[in-house]
Symmetry: C2
Subunit: 463 residues, 2 copies
């Protein structure tokens, strides 16, 4: 617990109503969406002005207190779980202003605590488009999206959060304000620090402002659903779509197991014997959408789709997307614990990865349902289990080991969009190199010599 | 001069034919395309294998010798001018292999010395598209483009080099190989180091391999030219095009002075009384191109274009682009020195910036011709002068001071695409903050504790 005088200082700085010290309050900030052990922080401080944020960072640093900065805590790898019982959680939800949406120069400036979906809606109301759409966007914050380098369904065509951050303002450990990037599309001024901060999981600096790129919205879109006997056919169809130079805005798949869990949950008449389902949406100019839909339909047919449905209107489109929308709750309700992974492979390796997942499930006798972003190779193998069952969970852990090994052997990556946190640290060196870990630690030490910014995350803080 | 034994060591490592120690040879690597004082390096080493590159870096670091890594040396801010007479230039032109162009997963892997235009052509031959098109692409290298965060004409719609770097392998000061990024579209694995290295001007690590994103090429395009009485009309047209949600692939302008210098040079019948010229190209699906061309033409007419030409075929298109293509040689031939700047402002501020440039030219009695990328606010105010004339050049330097002040006052940035090098260091703190400079120096020291990687560039190496 911080000293009474420091608590008083924070109360004077941010107001008593924004300092939480009771155990019940602190308990709420002990965990995030990862399947990991919670840790109760010593205090929670919620600045409502940017200057307060800088001051809290500076004071914690001076006092040698570890900090975990947190928006809505929806991340899936433990990035917002406090490191130790001394940790102070800095809550950004009070910094929730959209400062500017500039329709002439196509950018917006926001505070870190703005909710992603609210921001996207505010942008849409001005006739523009902010494409990143992480699964948790209805509650996640922009600051959290930036810290975690969040992805989403539109990554293939539109890129992810990292492709929309034009500039940032952050507080360094010293409380100094650091500006990086610009409001202009082009910027080659000084070190390109903003994208380094994207995905740095609160380990380098504390975000106070983000400038985001906006684009004109597509004028039309069309959604399609296709069923396949097996995942191979679906994967070949995905390859065929890309080979035909169609880049859909979303290109999702559900495997046989996912289809069945979803049907159990929502009973919308999905065929239980289907081996795989693809959900495809193309967008852009109306004529392009029409042409691309025709090409996609042909590719689906040529790859032996057993059923193809093209949505004729918004209602049908919504119906098509229903299966994907409910995937996570449909899986989460089956067993006490859902381990949602995000191993990512080059898209041509999806069939090999799916095959490896089947073998892994059989080898360790665990249940894996897989869905995700077929277009960009970003799979969500989801293990349904009970964490409290030690014997089962040790099998799950071995399966996860094998799963990441398989992704790396196929030229893939540990994480497409969930980050490393503490959950994936042990595989990081295998994907990169010992040199990369050392290089990363030097980087981190430069920004945080005392090791107080979320210290155990990503590469840890050792030598 | 390095010791005879070190030179011998390098000769054994890379072959005698790839170590250049004569003064005549070294002289060739003393300058780049910036208007700055040359500096002859002590030695030039040209590795032809990646392992040799790592070994050269390691040995120079161990010996405490400053290194400047150089591709074709086309950069405009002194990034490849050696820091001192002890500097060893490491030439990447021997590492010029395109390792892979993957048409299934839409990426390519290249060595740093590959020529940009050759790479773009190799990609096109496989039916794909690498959009970044810096002005020097016929001679510049991918490694140089990455080090300088190079832009080009297609930035507005397609982004610049930084938007296409998916992953990199680099050698750290220790000679250790560092891997960052992935071959997958999505990657949230470890620190996002690759984009930090983009634009780091050889000050953090030495690039050995780059993975670049590729996209399907647009199916159609259409080019247009419009003339205006003054720059205000042209700028309003630019704003109107964006407001109509058309994002052209290129949207260039030439001011009155540029038009006249170009006409002097190529005599293609440009109207000498025109206040400004816009060159616009839209691309994408054929129907979209047709629609967008109609919208653009209407916007041009509504903003009092005095003449509009729409290219009907490839020959007419090439004729339209001729004026822009020859802009730099047309200006460069007029006076001994051409100072080509790249101040960038939010595009809505272009009229204000052009007005400021006119006032600055009058105030300091210097000749400024301005052209550039109107779509993304990236102007190229070009000062025609004679560097040897001390009195004139001191007026030029004052004009450049005022020019950057004006860009920053309008919410712009010092550099859209040329970088900082040594040429723009003195304005960097003004754009960012003292905290940013300190933060950047800490960053650099973490990667290069002895200050041997191109030490005087970007933020220098002091405390």
């Amino acid at each position: 617990m911080p000293s009474a005088s420091l608590i008083k200082e924070f109360e004077q700085l941010v107001g008593k109503e924004n300092v939480f010290s009771s155990e019940a309050d602190r308990q709420s900030y002990a965990y995030d969406a990862a399947v990991l052990k919670p840790m109760i922080p010593s205090l929670v401080v919620r600045p409502t002005e940017v200057e307060q944020l800088g001051q809290v960072v500076k004071r914690c640093y001076e006092e040698g207190i570890p900090m975990t900065v947190r928006g809505s805590g929806t991340n899936l790898t433990g990035g917002t779980i406090p490191d130790c019982s001394d940790t102070i959680v800095i809550l950004t939800t009070g910094l929730n202003k959209i400062l500017e949406i500039n329709t002439e120069d196509l950018y917006a400036t926001v505070q870190p605590g703005v909710i992603t979906a609210k921001f996207a809606a505010a942008v849409a109301a001005k006739g523009l488009f902010y494409p990143p759409d992480p699964g948790s966007m209805s509650v996640s914050t922009i600051g959290g999206n930036v810290a975690e380098s969040s992805g989403g369904l539109r990554g293939l065509k539109y890129g992810t959060t990292k492709d929309y951050v034009m500039g940032m303002e952050v507080f360094a450990n010293t409380g100094d304000l650091v500006k990086t990037g610009s409001r202009t599309v082009k910027c080659a001024t000084g070190y390109n620090i903003a994208p380094l901060l994207v995905g740095s999981e609160g380990t380098l600096a504390v975000t106070s402002k983000v400038t985001l790129k906006l684009i004109p919205p597509p004028k039309a879109s069309k959604a399609m659903m296709a069923l396949f006997k097996d995942m191979d056919g679906a994967s070949q169809a995905v390859a065929g779509i890309i080979a035909a130079h169609v880049v859909p805005c979303t290109l999702e798949f559900l495997d046989h197991a996912s289809i069945n869990y979803i049907e159990d949950y929502v009973k919308i008449g999905l065929p239980r014997d289907a081996g795989a389902m693809l959900l495809i949406e193309v967008d852009g100019h109306p004529a392009q959408v029409e042409d691309e839909a025709v090409i996609v339909e042909k590719v689906l047919r040529d790859n032996s789709a057993t059923e193809i449905v093209v949505a004729r209107d918004a209602v049908e489109k919504s119906r098509i997307w229903e299966a994907r929308r409910v995937a996570i709750p449909a899986l989460a309700r089956c067993r006490p614990t859902l381990m949602l992974e995000d191993a990512t492979v080059p898209r041509s390796k999806i069939p090999a990865m799916i095959k490896a997942l089947d073998e892994i499930a059989a080898r360790h006798n665990v249940t894996i349902a897989t869905f995700g972003h077929a277009g960009d190779g970003n799979l969500h193998p989801s293990i349904l289990c009970d964490r409290r069952d030690k014997e089962e969970f040790s099998r799950v852990e071995r399966a996860v080991d094998d799963l990441f090994n398989a992704a790396l052997e196929l030229g893939g990556t540990l994480s497409g969009e969930h980050g490393i946190g503490t959950a994936k640290i042990k595989w990081l060196e295998q994907e990169t190199s010992h040199g990369t870990i050392m290089f990363s630690r030097r980087l981190r030490k430069a920004f945080d010599p005392k090791g107080l910014f979320n210290p155990s995350k990503i590469v840890g803080f050792g030598d």
